[in-house]
Symmetry: C2
Subunit: 179 residues, 2 copies
Amino acid sequence: MTERPWLDDTERLAWVRFAAVLELLPRALDAQLERDEQLTHYDYYCLAMLSEAPARTLRMTVLASMTNATLPRLSRVMNRLEDAGYVRREPCASDRRATNVVLTETGWDKVVRAAPGHVRTVRKLAIDTLTAEQVEQLSTISARMLTVLDPDQKVMASVLRPPSGPPIAPSTINSRAPS
Amino acid sequence: MTERPWLDDTERLAWVRFAAVLELLPRALDAQLERDEQLTHYDYYCLAMLSEAPARTLRMTVLASMTNATLPRLSRVMNRLEDAGYVRREPCASDRRATNVVLTETGWDKVVRAAPGHVRTVRKLAIDTLTAEQVEQLSTISARMLTVLDPDQKVMASVLRPPSGPPIAPSTINSRAPS
DNA sequence: ACATGATTGTTGTATCTACAACTATCGGCT
DNA sequence: AGCCGATAGTTGTAGATACAACAATCATGT
């Protein structure tokens, strides 16, 4: 197995640019949400996932998978969001080890209010800088990387959800406007 | 100005995938470097930049720009790297406000030792999951996003450096193997 | 020369995350 | 029934980053 050790000029340029995006984009997303809504991007993402889930409820483990985070991290984030009144923990009847997290009405309102500004930011910093063709390319490229980063395809579970009925959430990752 | 508020299905899918990469890839890069070399990815990136700089020396402000970080962050990182013996701070003669950071011999050796494993990881998680064409696309897409994320194009300064002579560094972002 | 605003870098403080250790529950097996 | 490895979630502890406040120096204009 001959393995190319270094990056050629093309690869090097691509990586330097991409590494810069990796550094700057998450910070920019956090900055907007913390400034305007006192939420981290991760907080928002959790609330958005809950807002789209059946009964606005998800198990801790499932939510952790969907958001690509560890359980300890999610646990502390939920502590904060629970203190803020955005979510509520409920013991799971069928499995007493498990905990269900439910989005409260206050939490729903929060997501509804935060979504437009966040989507504007996502558009400004990412989507709208690209042509339609480049958006497709980014989608494909990300999917390729996820085959290694996320071998179990846990992320896709949240996308390939059956097109179930309401509630339709006004999250970033929802394509349909709340009417 | 009519502004599209939400993301359509294509955009939504692209964003969910890309957001997952944004979450997972930096963590994976950190994990490898911390496990094998007791360095964060940001530590490594700083050392790599220094290893390629003339006289292996850079001013704090310049290094902060090149690494897309704030000065406070860089300051603390340099404290750590200085304690570890990888860099040395020197007052700048021409501007007494400024501080030059110099890569020590120990630091150089560290980068040389860490580079192969890191490059392997970058290849495994990113570059080698893509076709040559997709690498080009990622490069272009990242450049587009950087027009907004980094309007002053500070990052490019580190790439468009004149093809000066040695020292050639074994950093991730260098295409030529150290011979 | 001097005053003033800008630039360079460090540090106090609060927050967030990771890793590991721990508790509680589940599920299969004998 | 009882044991035991695996799973769900929380928390102790340490480390890293952001923001703001600060000290020191520069550079410009009068």
